[in-house]
């Protein structure tokens, strides 16, 4: 029941925002102060985490190689899976970030009678992972219509494609549905897959439940609980926030404050959680290094410059006498003693 805590936490957050925003005078706390605080924590925390990571040395050259390394001329190199040049690394990273290429290789292992261990390709995580991430991206881009004025044409175009089925009014966005489907899969996977369930922690469940609650409150606000949801007021508040002159003109429904509060919590929580994989994917040495350790020496930044290299020849020079005495074979014999001549 590890996931129960995440549900309780999100329900508590919903109650705080739902009830708190109804207290007279608390609008500015939930509509202005908390969003500002959250975005500052998000940007500050994100930059802090990246700098902390950038300060950690990479002692070894550890790119994961998944194909033929550069070798003799007549052996074809797998340039994407075993890059040796920066340009190849960039191409590999691009596909990793935009298409989750390493997740595409995901396999499922099972034990059958025999006992026999089998591995088979499992693409579901990749498919629903892509669906979830791209839906989320489209949703974030779509929300920019509340933060900018005048609205550029590309934004209207993205929104038009997202609402192209013209279902209902306000028109149904496809990304709202695909986001929920993606989230449900990712959550169900943590419950159903025994191995994943065993290693899942609260900090795996909480972001899923939180994002789910954000999506559901957004959908409720847009299609169902429309009392006091006047988009003009909301955009006026959002424009005020990004121009540092926030005003809350008319009354806005509680569902809006719940949605905004949950988003603020997500932003504030982001830099201190697993969600930092957004920045971390660029910082991962197994992906962002070229497999060129035979062409270029990788110097460990931790090396103490006072410790000089000590070759075997030097070592033998230092200890030859003792080695001969102990009967250890040496490459160069001791010089013949003078008194024996």
């Amino acid at each position: 029941m590890k996931y129960a805590f995440s549900f309780l936490a999100v329900i508590a957050l919903i109650l705080i925002a739902g009830l708190g925003s109804q207290i007279p005078g608390m609008h500015y706390l939930f509509g202005v102060a908390i969003p500002y605080l959250a975005i500052m924590l998000f940007v500050g925390g994100f930059v802090y985490r990246i700098i902390q990571w950038a300060k950690s040395p990479v002692p070894f050259s550890i790119p994961t190689t998944c194909g033929q390394a550069a070798s003799l001329d007549f052996i074809k190199q797998d340039k994407l899976d075993c890059p040796t040049k920066t340009s190849e690394v960039v191409a590999r990273m691009f596909l990793e970030v935009f298409l989750f290429r390493s997740l595409f290789r995901n396999t499922k292992s099972e034990i059958h009678d025999g006992p026999k261990l089998t591995y088979e390709s499992s693409k579901w995580l990749w498919v629903f992972g892509l669906l979830f991430h791209y839906s989320f991206l489209v949703i974030v881009i779509r929300h920019m219509r509340l933060f900018i004025e005048p609205i550029p044409r590309w934004l209207t175009a993205i929104e038009g494609v997202d609402a192209m089925l013209q279902i209902g009014a306000p028109t149904l966005y496809l990304s709202s549905i695909t986001l929920l489907i993606g989230l449900l899969f990712l959550f169900a996977r943590r419950l159903m897959n025994r191995q994943v369930r065993y290693i899942s922690l609260n900090n795996d469940y909480f972001p899923l439940v939180l994002i789910f609650a954000i999506a559901v409150t957004g959908i409720l606000m847009r299609y169902f609980l429309r009392t006091d949801i006047d988009i003009i007021n909301i955009k006026n508040l959002a424009m005020g926030l990004v121009t540092f002159s926030p005003v809350i003109g008319a009354k806005i429904g509680a569902i809006f404050y719940i949605h905004l509060f949950l988003v603020s919590i997500l932003l504030a929580y982001f830099p201190f959680s697993k969600l930092m994989h957004m920045g971390g994917v660029f910082m991962s040495p197994t992906r962002n290094m070229a497999n060129d350790s035979r062409a270029k020496r990788h110097i460990n930044p931790w090396n103490d410059p006072n410790i000089k290299p000590h070759s075997y020849a030097g070592y033998e020079d230092e200890f030859r006498e003792f080695m001969v005495e102990a009967g250890i074979p040496v490459e160069k014999e001791l010089p013949a003693a003078k008194d024996e001549v």
Partner: protein, 132 residues
């Protein structure tokens, strides 16, 4: 800090992305639109102002389904006044200026209702009359 050459530009790009609305607007919040009240001075609508502000699109969608899909053209009577279900037949009788009424908010909120795929604004309808 290692790899400053790539990490610092990366962080700058990240911050620019996150603060996109701040520099895109250039600190100008713009003014929220004030839709024009009916030029004829009409004060009553089929529902209250608050309801219409929040739910007019759902009401219109319902009317559209009633009329076009169910063939139900029954008249809506509010406080003794009859309204025929329709954008041009009811709404635009009073709110006759599409540009100053509908479009003022829709442009601000980037809403592109497909009403006008079929309907004509009174101005357009008048110009069609002339050409015919």
């Amino acid at each position: 800090m290692y790899n400053k050459g790539t990490i610092i530009p990366g962080l700058i790009i990240f911050v620019l992305f996150v603060t996109f609305p701040i520099w895109f607007n250039g600190f100008k919040a713009g003014t929220p639109p004030k839709p024009e009240l009916p030029p004829g001075g009409e004060k009553k609508c089929v529902e209250s102002v608050e309801y219409m502000r929040a739910n007019h699109m759902q009401l219109l969608d319902e009317w559209r389904d009633n009329v076009l899909r169910d063939g139900n053209r029954s008249v809506v009577t509010v406080e003794g006044k009859d309204y025929r279900k329709g954008l041009q037949m009811a709404c635009m009788q009073c709110h006759s200026n599409k540009e100053k009424f509908c479009d003022s908010c829709h442009t601000y909120a980037a809403v592109n209702p497909y009403c006008w795929d079929c309907h004509l604004s009174p101005k357009e309808a008048a110009s069609k009359e002339e050409t015919r």
